[in-house]
């Protein structure tokens, strides 16, 4: 018993530690069996299995295989001769079916199954899902995979029961609303057992997940952009009617790129499976590439009805609609296809699908630089945001393939029709309604894509087409027939194009919109005195229609516009209407036109044709306005003013003037066409009558009385100021019983051509403002006021003035009357009256020293002001004509200016220049003082010279010793053995001067160079001086050939060969250079001319007085001299010049001793110094003469 207890304990221990062994039926090991047939064990556990063979010695030759692999002999051991045992250590995870372990000896073979796994984990994460609210499915997470069969038991205590569900990991139960669910799951397998926690699920823990929708089909159409999706709602699967939301997703099949996702809501009908449909519009034609669609669902119920968790169903399998890029067409194509009309502002995708075997190289949308989207290997697209309207011929989309095939399409982008605006209708004939409107925004679509408009009667549905605007009709217009008895119309203008349609409505009462045509053929019928008959006709048949006719009458002066309205009854076409126009003025040209409106006013018609009519003449209606002017010699000039057209009533043919002496019965009448007449009368009083006459009669007579001769000359002129545009004239009444006043004015009474003008006033007036268009500013007028009495008109007052004064137009003429050393008397003359332009108030005088023309005037007051602020000497007396300017400086020029001024301003300036004479004292002093000074200086010098005459002689002109008196010459030994010419020995002349005499010819050459190089240097004069004065000026002829090449040296240098003559004792003159350059050029050999120059130039130091320089030498002589010359050479040893410097350095000691020509800047260097000692050659410290630069190369090469 104890053993069994112990065995049981061990077994439980093994089980609890994860070991499990299935005990074979032949555990004791019968021949021909294995110790274990089926082994189910934990992963990583170890086991021994024994094989019992029937044959002897089997254990020595046994083969073990595991999972088909032969096991090494070390894995198994021989128990007996027929029993072998294998040891399986750390078993790995086998397949779910397990692995076979086989022991084989000859014909005996035995197999056991080995399966490893894990014990179960406690189930967790219980989740309960319902799809129809009828059943609920609860599933759990099993945790780690056990690899061996695990069974589950679900226990519930409401009701208290357990259900074995086998290997399933869920359990289905009925869905009971408002009931909690309590479950516990027990997992059991061969390796162990685990029990979950107790799960409790309330309603809001329940998940509702609809069934996966059944996607039926996906269709393209009706346009290339539209996609239709159909799916089965599956209502019969649901136990209750509920709200479902379907999510539809469209994506590109090739790239799996989502294009669009949208929702569709539906209330489930549980009675049958409803087929739902949804249309989706793509922004890319569906032919561009393949599109796939899938769908899923979720509950759309509110939380009130279901408080649980809502979950999406699984996606349905996708359905695909293929694009053109999967077809095998050979021709490429662009979508949208050619001719497609698209709406502006939208975002569109254009694509090109290449033919089979081709690919796309470029894709253009108009001139837009857009990014190309690769849809597939044969399809590309361009996405365009906010497309703009096309031009008239459309927008081009072009696709170029790799084989240079151009595919294209023309797309038309525009707008749908705008609402017709400003719609209005009217009728001209009460038979047709004409409606006009404006189409609003341009659609950018033309030709067959343009908007077509029509007008529709909403009552009768009658439609009539509309026309577009044109040159004839500036608006869009439609006409619609009016039917009898119908005055009210409800009309709509409807516009339609490929992108849409629009319409506007209007209600029209025909009687309110009658717009008659204008009266036709208006013409004059008859005229009688001041009346006129005119007639017109109707353009169309207006029979029985009451019309309002407005007649407008304007006279040609524009002084009166009259308008008459007539109500007329319309008649047949061309029937005439006639009216009489009264109260017109005689002899007046009138313009007449007429227009119509309906009796119920809507709008006026256009005006009829315009006619011009002149009424008949009549006698002048008013008497003439007559005035007279009586000259002292009793020549009376009668003036009258022409009648206005309104007064004349016709063309005035003549004027009749009749005068009659008072007290006499005889009269004289004159007929004339002028507006004035001069009559010589005697001193008696006269009555003069003037009448005007036209073809219809005469005017009332105008009478003026000429009083007997009076002496009006005593009435003087009084200055008056104008008012700017006239005169304000006042007068005193002298006769109470008078017949009025006349103000007469004239520009200049003394001028016979003066245009007399006048104005008459009634007797109660004693002041008047005289204004006239003829009055001018700046013109002098003379006015007279006359009082009309029984005997005639009598002068009361004389005035003179300007309406407005201006500055004088001219300056007075200015002259210098007298000039003294400190004053000037100036004089000026009057300004002509017509140039005064105002009353001269005075004059302004300026003067200034004439420093220069721009100097400011210095006013008389002594203040110095600028020109704009001068304070002149002002003479307020207009009669003054002279002025004396004092305080001037003698002998000084002055500028004197004069202006006249009026109240209107200053005249222009008149200038005159005057110079004051010098004073006599100044002249005398100016002559005398210098003379005295000169004399005094002469006397002082004479005294000085007298006293210092010895010193002056020694200094300036010492005595020249006579050689004949020399002791040397007197010594006879000196002359022995010596040539006769030797008068001086150069050795004894330590400080000597070299005189180089240069012939003129070389001077000319130098001069020629100088003219080119430096004009300021007058070489010939120097040469001349040297020649004539024989001074010790060294004039060096630099154009002697270089010694290196020619070997010729100026013979004058011969003298310099003497070693006792030091270079420092040579006189230096100016430095010149450029002349060397040309002469040292290669190729300028010792030509004849040059030799002559050399000969003539002959430098001859004067120290060699015994060797007389030969002014002219033959060439042969020179050539003989050449080799012997060791004199100074020009610094033409170019190799020693520094070419870098462009400036002359200051003279240095080494070269200061070099002689130079007066025309040369080169110093003369003894040849021996150059030849014998190179250290003495000018080095870098020597003169730097840029002008040697050109010749440097040749000499450098010589050096090399």
């Amino acid at each position: 018993m104890k053993l069994w207890v112990l065995f049981g304990f061990v077994l439980l221990t093994l089980l609890s530690s994860g070991y499990h062994m299935a005990i074979a039926q032949n555990a004791v090991g019968h021949c021909g069996s294995m110790s274990t047939k089926i082994l189910i064990a934990n992963v990583n556990s170890s086991h021994n299995i024994t094989c019992y063979f029937c044959g002897s010695d089997a254990a020595d030759q046994v083969e073990w295989k595991y999972a088909g692999n032969l096991l090494p002999s070390s894995y198994y051991t021989k128990v007996t001769s027929s029993v072998s045992m294998v040891s399986l250590q750390n078993l790995g995870l086998t397949s779910r079916e397990g692995e076979n372990l086989t022991c084989t000896f000859k014909t005996e073979s035995y197999t056991a199954s080995v399966k490893t796994g894990y014990p179960p984990e406690a189930p967790r994460d219980l989740e309960c899902v319902t799809q129809n609210f009828g059943k609920i499915k609860c599933s759990w997470n099993t945790g780690r995979d056990t690899n061996i069969e695990t069974n589950y038991t679900v226990c519930s205590w409401l009701p208290d029961s357990c259900i074995e569900v086998g290997t399933k990991t869920f359990i289905e139960r009925d869905f009971v609303a408002f009931q909690d669910l309590q479950l516990q799951i027990i997992a059991v397998n061969k390796l162990g057992i685990q029990t979950s926690e107790q799960f409790r699920k309330v309603e809001h823990d329940i998940v509702f997940q609809p069934y996966t929708p059944e996607l039926l089909k996906v269709l393209k159409g009706p346009t290339d952009f539209q996609l239709t999706v159909e799916w089965n709602e599956g209502g019969t699967k649901y136990g209750v009617g509920l709200e479902l939301i379907f999510e539809i997703q469209v994506f590109l099949s090739h790239t799996m790129q989502e294009v669009w996702t949208g929702n569709y809501s539906s209330t489930v009908d549980i009675s049958h499976d409803k087929i739902l449909q949804f249309n989706w519009t793509s922004d890319m034609p569906l032919q561009c590439t393949a599109h796939s669609v899938r769908i899923r669902a979720i509950s759309g119920e509110s939380e009130i009805l279901f408080s649980g968790v809502k979950a999406w169903s699984d996606w349905s399998p996708a359905l695909t609609i293929e694009g053109l890029d999967t077809f095998n067409q050979t021709k490429g194509k662009i979508y949208p296809v050619d001719g497609t009309v698209l709406k502006a502002g939208s975002s569109l995708t254009f694509c090109c699908v290449a033919g089979q075997g081709k690919r796309i190289d470029k894709l253009y949308f108009s001139d837009l630089n857009a990014t190309v989207i690769e849809l597939s290997d044969r399809s590309q697209a361009i996405k365009v945001q906010n497309v703009t309207p096309s031009i008239e011929s459309g927008t081009n989309v072009i696709c170029i393939t790799n084989v240079l095939v151009y595919e294209g399409a023309v797309i038309y982008i525009g707008y749908p029709p705008d609402l017709p605006r400003n719609l209005s209708c009217e009728t001209r004939d009460l038979q047709t309604l004409n409606c006009t409107f404006e189409p609003g925004r341009s659609t950018s679509l033309v030709s067959k894509r343009r908007t077509r408009y029509s007008i529709i009667d909403r009552s009768s549905k009658i439609t009539s087409p509309c026309e577009e605007a044109s040159k004839i009709h500036p608006h869009y217009w439609c006409s619609f027939p009016i039917s009898n008895g119908n005055d009210i119309y409800n009309l709509s203008v409807h516009g339609k194009n490929p992108l849409g349609e629009a319409q506007s409505h209007i209600t029209v009462d025909v009687t309110h919109v009658f717009h008659p045509y204008a009266p036709h053929q208006l013409r004059e019928e008859a005229k009688i005195l001041t009346s006129l008959n005119v007639s017109w006709s109707d353009q169309i048949d207006y029979t029985g229609i009451t019309l309002l006719c407005e007649m407008e009458i304007r006279d040609h002066l524009g002084s009166s516009n009259m308008s008459y309205n007539y109500s007329v009854i319309g008649g047949l076409k061309d029937a005439r209407h006639i009216v009489t126009l009264d109260n017109l003025r005689p002899n007046t040209r009138y313009s007449i036109q007429a227009r119509y409106s309906a009796q119920r006013f809507w709008k006026w018609s256009k005006w009829s044709n315009l006619i011009n009519v002149v009424t008949e003449q009549a006698a002048p209606s008013t008497s003439l306005n007559v005035w007279r002017k009586i000259m002292p010699n009793r020549t009376v000039t009668i003036y009258w003013k022409p009648l206005s057209d309104a007064e004349a009533n016709g063309h005035i043919l003549s004027y009749n003037v009749t005068w009659m002496k008072i007290g006499s019965n005889s009269s004289t009448t004159v007929e004339m066409s002028m507006s004035s007449i001069a009559i010589d009368l005697d001193e008696a009083a006269y009555v003069i009558t003037v009448i005007a006459r036209n073809s219809a009669g005469t005017s009332p007579p105008s009478v003026i009385r000429i009083p007997p001769h009076t002496n009006d000359e005593h009435v003087g002129y009084i200055k008056t100021s104008g008012t700017g545009d006239g005169f304000n004239v006042t007068w005193l009444r002298q006769e109470v019983e008078n017949c009025g006043y006349t103000v007469e004015w004239c520009q200049n009474l003394s001028n016979s051509t003066c245009n007399v003008d006048w104005q008459k006033f009634p007797s109660n007036v004693t002041s008047a403002i005289i204004k006239s268009d003829n009055l001018q500013v700046g013109v002098l007028y003379m006015l007279e006021v006359h009082e009309c009495r029984d005997g005639g008109d009598y002068l009361l007052k004389r005035l003179v003035g300007y309406t407005r004064e201006l500055a004088p137009a001219e300056a007075p003429n200015l002259d210098i009357e007298e000039t003294t050393s400190d004053s000037v008397l100036i004089k000026w003359s009057d300004i002509p009256v017509d140039k005064q332009r105002g009353f001269i108030q005075g004059f302004k005088i300026y003067y200034s020293k004439l420093y220069n023309e721009s100097a400011a005037f210095k006013p008389v007051g002594g203040q110095k002001l600028n020109t704009n602020k001068l304070l002149p000497k002002i003479i307020n007396d207009s009669a003054t004509r002279t002025f004396k300017i004092g305080g001037l400086e003698p002998g000084t020029a002055y500028l004197v200016a004069l202006r006249a001024y009026t109240r209107g301003g200053d005249s222009p300036r008149r200038d005159v220049t005057v110079t004051t004479p010098n004073s006599p004292l100044a002249v005398i002093l100016g002559i005398t003082l210098p003379l005295v000074g000169i004399i005094t200086l002469g006397v002082i010098l004479s005294i000085f010279c007298y006293r210092k005459q010895e010193w002056i002689k020694e200094t300036f002109y010492p005595d020249i010793p006579d050689p004949n008196n020399s002791k040397v010459l007197q010594d006879g030994t000196f002359l022995q053995g010596v040539n006769s010419c030797k008068t001086l020995e150069p050795k004894d002349c330590t400080p000597s001067e070299v005189q180089v005499v240069e012939e003129k010819q070389i001077g000319f050459e130098i001069e020629k160079e100088v003219e080119v190089d430096d004009e300021t240097e007058v070489v010939p004069e120097d040469i001349s001086d040297a020649e004539t004065q024989s001074q010790g000026v060294l004039s060096y002829g630099p154009h002697s050939a270089p010694a290196e090449t020619s070997g010729k040296v100026n013979p004058a240098f011969e003298a310099m060969a003497s070693p006792t003559i030091y270079p420092s004792e040579v006189m230096y003159t100016s430095i010149r250079g450029p002349v060397y350059q040309q002469q040292e050029a290669p190729g300028t050999g010792p030509g004849t001319d040059e030799m002559e120059v050399i000969v003539k130039s002959g430098y001859q130091p004067q120290v060699h007085g015994g060797i007389a320089p030969t002014p002219v030498m033959e060439q042969s002589e020179v050539q003989e001299l050449m080799p012997r010359v060791n004199g100074y050479q020009p610094q033409a040893h170019r190799q020693s010049w520094s070419l870098d410097s462009v400036e002359f350095p200051p003279p240095e000691t080494d070269s200061i001793g070099s002689p130079t020509s007066i025309n040369s800047q080169a110093f003369l260097i003894p040849e021996r110094m150059l030849g014998a000692d190179h250290s003495l050659r000018p080095g870098v410290k020597m003169w730097s003469l840029p002008f040697f630069q050109n010749s440097r190369m040749s000499f450098d090469s010589n050096d090399s």
Partner: protein
């Protein structure tokens, strides 16, 4: 005829530019050209073949080719005009220019026909010209119009050279 050709050639570039401008991008881009489009009755200008053939035979052959080309060109210019009236209804300048060229090119073809008849050639055997671009897409109309215009320029340029050579040879 030489002057006529020169006058037409002078105006032809304006026609091409005007045409391109009215068609919008990319037609109006500088240097834009379209690969050849086959138009029945409007052959391309043959390449120069050198002087291997006899001159007289060469001249007559060229004149015949030009005669046929201008007949076709006049026909197609009218079709292009019709198309452009539809595509560019307000392009009056282009319409006038196309009409001008259609009339003058037809006159050129007639004159060439008379010349060939005088040289003893029978009239053309009624070459069947294309029925135009009826039913073609708007893109095809635009493209064909450009080909017609540019090919017209090429033929005129070729004719100018031929006629000049003939004038200089026989004067």
């Amino acid at each position: 005829m030489l002057k006529m050709v020169q006058e037409l050639l002078h105006r032809s570039q304006h026609l091409v530019d005007l045409y391109k401008r009215q068609q919008g991008p990319p037609f109006n881009r500088p240097g834009f050209a379209m690969p050849g489009l086959s138009l029945r009755g409007l052959p391309e200008v043959p390449r120069a073949e050198g002087n291997q053939r006899e001159e007289a035979e060469d001249d007559e052959a060229r004149l015949q080719a030009e005669h046929e080309a201008y007949r076709g060109l006049a026909h197609y210019l009218r079709l292009v005009l019709d198309d452009q009236r539809e595509l560019n209804p307000s392009g009056q300048d282009l319409h006038q220019e196309l009409a001008y060229f259609a009339v003058n090119v037809e006159g050129l073809a007639v004159n060439l026909g008379l010349l060939l008849r005088a040289l003893g050639h029978e009239g053309p055997d009624g070459v069947h010209l294309g029925t135009g671009l009826t039913g073609a897409s708007d893109w095809d109309k635009k493209r064909a119009g450009l080909v017609v215009c540019t090919r017209g320029v090429q033929w005129l340029r070729a004719s100018e050279g031929d006629f000049s050579a003939l004038v200089s040879r026989y004067n």
